[in-house]
């Protein structure tokens, strides 16, 4: 998931954590990880699978939208 990492470097606001799902079964259960890669942003937006950069950015922006 290079996009997440590169986004971290691009902005002080962004932090990315790659989580090895099988070594953290409790976290994986808590986030209902059924397939990988699964991305969860700010506990608000999630998706599975690789996506283009523009879609990933869209998910990040959606995660910080104020209600």
């Amino acid at each position: 998931m290079r996009l997440a990492q590169h986004m971290s470097v691009a902005s002080d606001r962004v932090r990315s954590t790659v989580i090895e799902a099988t070594e953290f079964p409790e976290l994986s259960r808590a986030y209902r990880v059924l397939g990988v890669p699964k991305v969860v942003i700010n506990e608000r937006v999630e998706f599975e699978g690789a996506v283009p950069e523009a879609d990933f950015l869209g998910a990040v922006l959606k995660a910080v939208e104020t209600a």
Partner: protein, 142 residues
Amino acid sequence: MSILNAQVRADVRTELAKLAGPVRLVVFSQELVAGDLCRQNEALAREVAELSEQITVEVLNPAIDRERAAAYGVDQVPALVVEGARDWGLRFYGIPLGYEFSNLIDALVVASTGEPALSEATQTALQALAADVEIKVFSTPT
């Protein structure tokens, strides 16, 4: 016994020639919580560090180095933080092998350059963020 075979070591050495400056792998280990995994993670970090003079390894125990762990926002072990001239927010929970290993090497390179491979539009949008963003990426080695 080595984790990385000779071919992988050669490939990684070539990739790490792209490092533009010093990088640090901060390893979080806690024997009592996940001894075997933490030892493997630490061994992996040291093997990678052997492949470039630009890489240093520091090992912390989150139960002892609590302030550092809190500052990094690390609350699991085994964990790795990849730092360049600054902390870019690059974290790994679990041993980054398989697909994740290539992400680790990529993280080292981008941490050293500080130059993300993203479009101008994406970078502009990210720099304008008004709130913190925490991205979790669940992955597996295969």
